[in-house]
């Protein structure tokens, strides 16, 4: 009997802990957004974060975009040529990139590059009491450290996705048309005729949501890192893993809504 009671107690504690953690997670984002909307506005810090998250990720995103487009050009041409539909190559490459691969791969790349660094930086600041120092100086740490990063993520991710899309389409053209010999006119005309504004916007909406989710998770994990070296490394790993999983999960939900 006592074992059953103990089991129920443990189960109850587990549920309470998880519900509390989820509540804290949601409250963290709500506080960050509230702080972003109320003065004093941290415009300079936000611009600095846009540089760190956005501008400094451009080369990586462009590189991944180019290779993704090139692979799509190669695979797409080989598959479509079996049905004599090489003319649809531009449409296929563009739609796959703009609606799906652009936002997802750009978000995963920025998570690996900037999200991990962000979690490590905030974790390290927590471990060395720099976050406490802000609070004692009457400066809201969430407003100073988290809100600018979240806003910068929301702004940067759609821009990086756009760059990824354009360079990916160019990569597909380079291989599909330049190397494999697909007709150049139908590649470009296919994109112009078959891709709608809704296709472009659905990709950008996804990027916006991914930007919010990645910054939310990475900041939360870093901000709540245990105050020790292993705590910082664990927070960084958890931030990257959870962000990546959430990007793919949200991608499914958003696709089902935006289709």
């Amino acid at each position: 009997m006592s074992r059953i009671v103990e089991l129920i107690e443990r189960l109850g504690a587990l549920v309470i802990d998880n519900v509390t953690a989820l509540g804290n997670f949601v409250l963290f984002l709500a506080t960050a957004l509230w702080c972003a909307a109320t003065p004093p506005y941290k415009l300079r810090l936000t611009i600095r974060q846009i540089r760190t998250i956005g501008a400094e990720s451009i080369v990586l995103v462009a590189l991944i975009g180019a290779f993704t487009g090139m692979v799509l050009g190669l695979q797409g041409y080989n598959t479509l040529s079996r049905f004599g539909s090489e003319g649809a190559l531009g449409t296929v490459v563009a739609l796959v990139l703009v609606r799906e691969l652009g936002p997802v791969l750009a978000a995963l790349m920025v998570t690996a590059r900037a999200g991990s660094a962000m979690a490590a930086e905030l974790g390290s600041m927590q471990a060395t009491e720099q976050v406490d120092a802000l609070a004692v100086m009457a400066i809201n740490p969430i407003q100073y450290l988290v809100s600018p990063r979240v806003i910068a993520g929301i702004i940067s991710f759609p821009l990086l996705t756009s760059i990824f899309d354009v360079i990916g389409i160019w990569g597909g053209y380079l291989i599909g048309v330049g190397l494999m010999g697909a007709p150049a006119g139908s590649y470009l005309n296919g994109i112009a005729q078959n891709m709608s504004g809704h296709d472009i916007m659905s990709g950008l909406y996804k990027a916006l949501v991914f930007g919010l989710v990645v910054m939310w998770v990475c900041c939360y994990k870093g901000y709540h890192a245990q105050r020790m070296a292993t705590g910082v490394s664990r927070a960084t790993t958890e931030a990257v893993v959870l962000s990546s999983v959430l990007i793919l999960a949200w991608d499914y939900f958003l696709t089902s809504i935006l289709l």
């Binding site: 060395t128 720099q130 406490d132 120092a133 004692v136 100086m137 009457a138």
Partner: protein
């Protein structure tokens, strides 16, 4: 708690910080177990005690980083345990805090670190801030170090820079958490002298947590010995030393022999 005196000069001074029956629990561990403490205005009050007795947790309540489960903290007549965000920030503006490892922002230069509270919390102009920062750096003996990053400074210099940042807004109350941890005896002495000098120059109320016993007694007006989450002994250094308290004597013996286990096992 055994209170064994009034203050270092034998005169009665007003109380800047009053702590009553403060309790805080982390999980099943009762860290603060009814702390009572008076920190007198314009005096240095040093809290000593073995590792894990709750000194730093108490300081985190005094600088409003933690909220007590029960009890009362009155700072300059304001019951801060009842305050919420904005009210807390108003009280915090009267504080300067020196953290154990300095807590300097490692992405900023020494100048930017010291200027930070003025840039963020005042409407002072750039020139005015620069003059004040240079003056404060000279005051702590760091002239010419403005453009260095914290990682380029020695431990003692980092503490000095952190002290300059804590003092830049002319606080009424200065809190120090183990300010001499990791420093050799020479640098420990110079930090102690700097704390005393700053306290006298700016008329500060100082609350310091320190393990550096008995060296810290030389600059303290009042000493509070903490044991098992409450104040076991308070008074002037001479009074505390003369109290012949068995637990305090064992703590002193543990520190003197360098055996932290003895002290921690109290």
């Amino acid at each position: 708690m055994a209170a064994v005196g009034q203050n270092g000069n034998g005169s009665v001074t007003s109380v800047a910080i009053e702590v009553r029956e403060l309790r805080h629990r982390f999980g099943r561990q009762q860290v603060l177990n009814g702390v009572d403490l008076d920190c007198q205005r314009g005096r240095i009050t040093t809290i000593v005690g073995p590792s894990g007795c709750g000194k730093t947790v108490l300081l985190k309540h005094l600088n409003l980083l933690l909220r007590a489960d029960s009890g009362r903290i009155v700072i300059d007549g304001v019951d801060v345990t009842r305050l919420r965000n904005r009210g807390l920030d108003e009280v915090r503006k009267e504080f300067g805090m020196l953290f154990q490892a300095g807590a300097l922002f490692d992405s900023m230069t020494v100048f930017d670190n010291v200027a930070f509270p003025l840039v963020e919390n005042t409407s002072m102009g750039r020139e005015e801030i620069a003059v004040k920062v240079r003056e404060m750096l000279a005051n702590v003996g760091l002239e010419g170090m403005e453009n260095k990053f914290p990682s380029e400074l020695s431990g003692g210099m980092q503490k000095r820079a952190a002290l300059a940042r804590a003092l830049i807004r002319n606080p009424k109350i200065l809190m120090l958490d183990e300010p001499t941890t990791g420093l050799d005896p020479t640098r420990t002495g110079s930090i102690h002298a700097l704390v005393r000098h700053s306290q006298q120059r700016f008329g500060l109320t100082v609350v310091m947590v320190s393990h550096d016993v008995p060296a810290v007694f030389e600059i303290s007006d009042r000493v509070a010995f903490m044991h098992e989450g409450r104040m076991k002994l308070t008074g002037t250094p001479a009074e505390v030393a003369a109290a012949n308290d068995e637990v305090f004597n064992r703590f002193l013996a543990g520190r003197a022999s360098g055996d932290e286990r003895d002290a921690a096992a109290l």
